[in-house]
Symmetry: C2
Subunit: 345 residues, 2 copies
């Protein structure tokens, strides 16, 4: 309704009158070309003329028309952003980081919200394309990813950079949080959810990801003064059977935790099987948290406001990555940046 209305009236309403280069030219009886050159402080303009132009420009409160410039330069100087929501402070903080970078580089930012809906995300991406954005920053919805559309946009020459919730199917630059942090947040999430007896099924000892996730678990527990007993951490490997047997042994010992943060999803599934076979329920009796690309993102995001996350930095990093894709020729290789800075525990 308001849509139709505003289109209807759009021709009746004149925009505010701005001073143009032509106005300056007329006032001084010189050509617009000279004015343009004078304003650009080019060397082939008489200093006296330059001064006069600058003075007149100031007098008329002249400001270059960004729209005309964009048309002339054939650059929209705009990038698009798609975030799932605004409710939590997570994405707004990321946006603040993005804005800082965009302000610095003179780009405009078009912000859209997908409301966790794939359909709305599609609409937003189309809208951004229609607005000729030179690149897109995106954190995908919970519902899933519009894989085909991402690929289409990239193929058509619009670079995409994913952050936080990234697409696994598309080759593009990405900014994510590191294993340690994510494990930390996942554990903290369990703590904030009210569970008291929290265990960890860790992965193979020789894997770095394994020790990183364990470290995240341990640090989160420590931060909240939760006790870590001998049984708190069990090595359960990467596959389902190990998760099963680990949980089985706990049930046998009647040392049943309220929640378990598992190294990965197969481990969690194995544990789930053991829980069910013992006639227990998940999450009423034992809550499980797996750790896969997508699952964990759902857990820690929207995140707990009490935890300081590198949100601002994430926005900055993603924005810089995108700008690099846009301005660099030839475009740089895609890269995935993992935010590694230390937590304040």
């Amino acid at each position: 309704m308001s849509n139709i209305f505003s289109i209807f009236v759009s021709n009746l309403v004149a925009m505010k009158k701005y001073s143009t280069i032509k106005d300056i030219a007329n006032a001084l009886n010189i050509s617009t070309a000279t004015v343009s050159r004078a304003l650009a402080d080019r060397c082939d303009v008489n200093q006296e003329t330059k001064n006069k132009v600058l003075e007149e420009a100031k007098r008329q409160n002249y400001r270059p028309n960004p729209i005309a410039l964009r048309l002339q330069n054939k650059r929209s100087k705009t990038i698009g952003l798609v975030v799932p929501e605004f409710k939590s402070s997570f994405f707004p903080m990321v946006i603040a980081g993005i804005q800082k970078v965009m302000d610095e580089s003179g780009f405009q930012l078009l912000i859209t919200q997908s409301q966790e809906s794939m359909e709305v995300e599609r609409r937003n991406l189309k809208l951004l394309e229609n607005n000729m954005v030179e690149g897109i920053l995106i954190s995908i919805t919970r519902e899933g990813e519009n894989f085909d559309l991402y690929q289409e946009l990239i193929d058509s020459g619009i670079p995409l950079v994913f952050f936080n919730r990234v697409s696994t199917k598309v080759v593009a630059s990405k900014v994510v949080i590191d294993d340690y942090r994510r494990a930390f947040f996942a554990t903290e999430h369990l703590i904030y959810s009210g569970f008291k007896k929290i265990y960890h099924f860790s992965g193979p000892k020789n894997l770095i990801v394994s020790s990183e996730r364990k470290r995240g678990f341990v640090d989160a527990m420590k931060k909240h003064h939760f006790e870590i007993t001998d049984n708190s951490i069990m090595t359960a490997g990467v596959f389902m059977d190990k998760g099963f047997s680990a949980m089985q042994s706990l049930i046998d010992k009647n040392d049943i935790p309220e929640a378990v943060f598992c190294f990965n999803d197969p481990t969690a599934l194995g544990a789930l099987k053991a829980i069910k076979e013992a006639g227990l329920k998940c999450p009423e009796d034992v809550a499980l948290v797996g750790f896969s690309e997508t699952e964990i993102a759902q857990l820690v995001d929207p995140p707990l406001t009490s935890v300081e996350q590198p949100t601002f930095e994430m926005g900055e990093t993603a924005a810089r990555l995108l700008l690099k894709q846009i301005t660099q020729t030839p475009p740089p290789e895609v890269e995935t940046i993992c935010l590694l800075e230390k937590l304040n525990i």
Copy 2:
């Protein structure tokens, strides 16, 4: 740094090639004027030509260049927004409401953050002006208001609409939260701050604002199951002396509250005087909350996330108000809208 860099490369990098009206015209060996008319579905174009144009446009995946349109129409189709911060979810939610309206009406939204700094706010307003926004939505900083600049912008033909934290010195449309709600939030703020014994010095019985504020106080107390005794609410009038005597009588009775929500600022100041004279300290012994245009805004905002505020609606309302200022000729009278909907207690 990144600024200089991006300017340097800007001419080297070609934007994605889009299909134009000229491409369609060339493909069909007709003039661009006819193509333009056909796409606009004007009646003075042969139906056959129309069909061919539409088909070719689809084939070339043609989309009108919004930048060229803006130049042609002399309308930036953009409005600017200045909010103090992004950390709390308050402003992001307001933004969501604004965006909804803007999407509907085809306007772009330029979002800036003033970080509670008057200086940054000035910069942002200038930036928006340079970007030729057709109107500005603003919630002012804690530090104060850039009164002169607001007036300058309005005088120069850029309509401003204030929301939540509004300027008291400028004549412009405003969107605020009603007395009842603000009183409710203020009281709830005291509750969340940990005070147990909370009193209210209410205004004259015959004033609607007075009963509204009292109602807000009562409802907030009820919501959190705080007892309201005979002494909890005292009628203290509008002036300082009444606040003084009200507090004095409480001190005399040795019925000293931990916190008092006062009808207005003079009342609070009077109460403060009594507290000091009794050798007590504020806020250690007795915390006071006044109620003036600016003070109360500081209290309830950034607001408590546990309270559902009409944030989305506030954004919507402010945006609609601004759009009306922009599109309507002659521009409508300025108006102040008070959000009145019911709270879920």
